[in-house]
Symmetry: D2
Subunit: 129 residues, 4 copies
């Protein structure tokens, strides 16, 4: 990975993501959890963590949710849940050999074609990136 | 991309993530969707996309899920759903001003403390990164 | 309730639920889907349908969500998604041999003990039935 | 509702469901949580509970998930999570004035039209009740 800073092509992710993916993989391997980490199981775990994130926000008004990070306790919990979601998403992409950032960039380009800005402006029905 | 090491401080993510976050933000602003993009709404949208990802994997055996990317149709759909999940997760972090990769790195360190490798080895009950 | 006590013992649910469970089971058997209907797969399918329900509500304000059934299109979609959620929840309970209504009644009694009314009054932090 | 005990018609639910709905409503009112219980918030809470259910099943093999109720600890947790899911689903239907069982019956009839048994037999791609 010595030439990563030279190569660092978007197709292969970038150093921050590379390091995270390697760390998550090492974490799983040290605990011998590879057998549990099928794409199916990891998608379930991802959904479970998203559920915990929802639980942090479910009773808040929209306005309270905007300010959630300014509450030390809730802010810390939200950040931790986001961390868990990202860990499983990174691990899922690792076992599937999917470049996470590239998959998002490609999907965003696809969504831009399907929801032209001039037609979707301010319309909730189409408010999907 | 020669300025990768200069531009991408860990505290602010790295260029790949930075570029994605900027693109997702621009996508939302061009469509005037900022008002819809509260943390609460984005967490719901994130969960909805994870639900679509689950739907792609729900009837597969564990073995089939491991091989899902080798099926052109299913592989493309899974990659697209992962892209959608990442788009909303990136946007959520943008509006919350949370560094997504850093949040995952920090949570992984926290999990390493809570689940020591020598105690968690091969144990499904603790199979949580 | 003349024949209710004979037909619908609490242990097995009541006629409405009994009929639904039988219909969902017949639906699956006619399509030879029993092999797909493991608890694990059904829980994923349940989550996928809940994701579709969230998608119907995600961009609405709280006030708009309160009035969602008065919009013919959105109301019909919400009702259909709720139907799908209930179908999978019923099927999950069928394969697990869990009495769905009884499980909810028992859990509510448990929650009543954990969140006494006089302590939880109006407190979002505890707003969990 | 005077003819409820005679008719017990599916259109109005049945006593078991009626009693559950009334109990869940009373539970919320005693704690003055009505303000929190918008359809949007309740759908999020429902998703959060489904996430907890997924967490109980995520590392199990399909075969282990089939036998989950024979493990006293896991079985009790699964049943409790199903109870929580049903409580929020019942409450969501109460605030939306949707008949939960009827919504499922209607959706199943709709699915029967869309997935004829002779075409969907044994096909995972269509394995959706």
């Amino acid at each position: 990975m010595g030439d990563r800073t030279v190569a660092g092509s978007p197709a292969h992710g970038d150093p921050g993501m590379d390091a995270l993916r390697a760390s998550v993989r090492a974490f799983a391997e040290e605990r011998e959890w590879q057998g549990f980490h099928t794409p199916k199981n990891l998608a379930m775990a991802l959904a479970g963590e998203v559920g915990e994130l929802l639980a942090e926000l479910q009773w808040l008004t929209p306005e309270e949710s905007v300010a959630v990070m300014s509450d030390p306790g809730a802010g810390q919990r939200v950040r931790a849940e986001i961390g868990d979601v990202m860990i499983y998403l990174t691990r899922l992409c690792d076992v599937l050999d999917v470049d996470l950032v590239r998959a998002a960039v490609d999907k965003l380009a696809d969504s831009a074609r399907r929801y032209p800005a001039d037609q979707a402006r301010g319309t909730a029905a189409k408010a999907r990136p």
